[in-house]
């Protein structure tokens, strides 16, 4: 079963615009991570935020976490055509349960 649900399912923007993607989850988490996948290839880790953190930045990426609402958002600023990919949020429960539970993903298209 998939814990995370991303929103929207698909997003199309113009190069230079910002892209905001949302993720909701159901159970308590230790951390939440965002991954990118290009055309059915392997996943690439983007950013991790722990349950005691509210916001984190990495380059053009900004992730927020609201544990009271069980939701997270990923903002990509000044998007580029190379950002076109599928984006997944994944939750980790921590402790002895170290697997990641992924959502269904968001397809981002950035038009040149």
């Amino acid at each position: 079963s998939q814990q995370g649900e991303e929103d929207p399912q698909a997003l199309s923007i113009q190069e230079g615009e910002n892209a905001t993607m949302n993720c909701s989850y159901k159970t308590s988490i230790n951390n939440l991570q965002w991954y990118r996948q290009n055309s059915g290839r392997g996943l690439v880790h983007l950013i991790l935020i722990r349950s005691n953190e509210r916001e984190k930045h990495s380059g053009r990426l900004r992730v927020t976490l609201d544990t009271s609402k069980k939701s997270s958002s990923l903002l990509i600023t000044a998007s580029r055509a190379a950002d076109t990919a599928s984006y997944f949020c994944a939750t980790g429960a921590g402790g002895a349960n170290s697997k990641l539970t992924f959502g269904k993903g968001i397809t981002l298209s950035v038009r040149p």
């Binding site: 998939q2 230790n30 991954y35 392997g42 980790g92 959502g103 269904k104 993903g105």
Partner: protein, 115 residues
Amino acid sequence: DAGVTQSPTHLIKTRGQQVTLRCSPKSGHDTVSWYQQALGQGPQFIFQYYEEEERQRGNFPDRFSGHQFPNYSSELNVNALLLGDSALYLCASSFLTALNTGELFFGEGSRLTVL
């Protein structure tokens, strides 16, 4: 420094056959996890290996089995293949101690088609 490598990249099998997929973790990593990703879906956790033992398992039938070797590489075996086993199989590696809060490093996957 080689990342996670998987083989084969693509393969086609028929129903009822058996398949073995292979994974070499990133250098220095000791833990391997396997995920199944059906078309249009997110990856689903199959199982995880550490010190040559299955440490954790997802909701997959016993037809799915694995192994980890002393050099930390791993195999995923699927018996009695069904059409629904068609998917991208992803291997991910990490340090066990970092798993609770750390990222996973994924390979490019093995795309299995069952006819």
